[in-house]
Symmetry: C2
């Protein structure tokens, strides 16, 4: 089959490799129908040291079950399924507590031995707990939106859930990438009436307004903080959904969050040490939360709104490539010519 590998920063190749095979009795093989490129794929695209051993790429995909191991139940060949970016048994204590990303038998796509989603097929470990059936046909126009359940919509939702967003909370979303825009959608869906989107790209923030943003602040740093404070009577917002992952975004979050409020991070932090002392977090009783989204945990809640058309998270995809043109997709996202790239193998 054809599959995508990264050999170093900027070096994405699509190669012929053997088809994946069942390895554990709990595995399934899923033939990819739709995949995509994640903003987090750009981190290795910028930083991965060159290597002779390519790294399989892609962790968001949906497809058709091709084969299941003897211990997989509830799924059969031909089922159309979406696959969360973390696999899990969905039965252990951590899964029951809603942190499937810390499952005792879990892990993350792509793994060297499972392959990535930017490929014609993938081995899915812990298939019973990981796969979720899609009640549509494989040519449904809803597929791009359903694909966002694998990661990006669930991630935006995770930010909002962890921040306690409701009709009583004002919200700032930092970042106008696909996660930020879907954090806006998730906050709106959870009832937030005031949602300030901080982002510099007008085409993206325009989509953010359609998703529910009530205000857009294009400025960053101190200037952006001052504008958000102006919009909120000087106080900032109860919830800040930090969807970037860089230290300046965290500092911006500290600047726009209201006393007693929550900073919820879903952008993977590209830093470790940061201010959390009295003047930053402690003195104002701020809460810092977030992490990798337990996407599986949210699919049952989020799918109905996609199926009934009340939300259309798949609108974040603005470019579609086939598998052989995945390297062009990375380039387009890196150059910000594309917001998020859909891959149709």
């Amino acid at each position: 089959m054809r599959a995508t590998f990264m050999y170093g920063a900027g070096d994405v190749r699509v190669e012929n490799v053997p088809d994946p095979r069942l390895s554990e009795p709990t595995d399934a093989i899923v033939r990819t129908v739709l995949s995509c490129i994640c903003g987090s794929d750009l981190h290795p695209y910028h930083n991965l040291p060159p290597s002779a051993q390519g790294r399989p790429m892609g962790h968001e995909f949906l497809g058709v079950v091709e084969e299941t191991g003897p211990e997989v139940s509830g799924f059969a060949a031909g089922d159309l399924v979406v696959v969360p970016f973390a696999f899990q048994d969905n039965t252990c204590e951590f899964c029951r507590e809603g942190v499937q990303t810390s499952c005792r038998h879990g892990g993350f796509f792509p793994a060297d031995d499972s392959g990535g989603g930017q490929a014609e097929a993938v081995r899915v470990p812990q298939a019973t707990g990981t796969l979720v059936k899609l009640p549509v046909d494989a040519d449904s126009a809803l597929l791009p939106s359903l694909l966002t359940l694998a990661d990006v919509y669930g991630t935006g939702h995770h930010a909002a859930v962890r921040a306690g967003v409701s009709s009583r909370t004002s919200v700032t979303v930092i970042g106008d990438g696909a996660v930020g825009l879907l954090a806006v959608m998730a906050a709106r869906r959870l009832g937030a009436e005031r949602i300030i989107l901080m982002g510099r790209h007008k085409d993206r923030t325009d989509l953010g307004r359609e998703f529910g943003a009530t205000d857009v602040v294009a400025e960053r740093g101190e200037e952006g903080i001052a504008l958000v404070r102006d919009l909120t009577g000087g106080d900032g917002t109860h919830a800040v959904l930090e969807c970037v992952g860089l230290l300046p975004a965290y500092e911006q979050a500290l600047g726009v969050v209201r006393a007693g409020g929550v900073i919820s991070r879903v952008g993977v932090p590209q830093y470790d040490e940061a201010p959390i002392g009295f003047p930053s977090l402690f003195g104002r009783n701020l809460t810092l939360t977030g992490g990798p989204a337990p996407a599986r945990n949210y699919i049952d809640e989020l799918m109905p709104g996609i199926l009934d058309g009340s939300v259309e998270p798949g609108r974040v995809f603005d470019l579609t490539v086939d598998l052989d043109h995945v390297p062009d997709g990375y380039r387009a996202m890196d150059l910000r010519e594309a917001l998020k790239v859909l891959v149709r193998p």
Copy 2:
């Protein structure tokens, strides 16, 4: 009147100063019946640069209302009241959201112009929103326990509330000072059935066991972390109440918290930068919360258990001094000869 001032590290003096007077129409003058020395008073006792201008000391006190300004309602001379360590109007948006420590008209004792609680009398700003009547006589044996509502019991409770402690959560409390021991009491009161107390002083951890600790770990650092993990099947606890405020205590909290869990800090951080990236907080979906306790917010909830005798938080006091011997009280706490010192002016 006699009042306590600190002129530099280790330099505590009790001096004659003019009695406090009403300054704002919202003020009250409270004559101190009981006060105490806080663990956080030891920070300036260790670090305060020498100064010709003494700093008034003490922020935990109860007493009798002596005089009220024309805009104070609900209180009259002769009322026995407890005074939270932060004053507040208790009506602004922040107060209504339960962060009275960020009140629009609030502040903290001691202030240069209000005086501290380790004195014969104190000017209390925002008296209507700050004072809470005590339904006992001024010679009640319950007074030491009622005094803990001013700060230390409310602070332990704040740690537990912010961590979401309930019957479904396992808890580690870091620190066997008065706040740590009352965090144990608060966690038990909120239903926690497994409470691991990390502390090195057997007399204190023995009291912690009486307050509800089910396990005690005297070791610190990596050794202590390993022991807590052993006690919890390798996973750590859902909630960690960090009642110390030093960086090693935060690092210890990271080591003993369970994936998806909460670190709740009430020890005033003596550091600013600390790890919060993927390997520390983010990857395991940890939440970091806490701050100065909005003690006023909790008094109505916590007082009944003191009045009916179901809890006795005043047991943290193990030494009593009069006002002239407050410097001896500081010394005793600093040398760990006393857990917490009661001051009877």
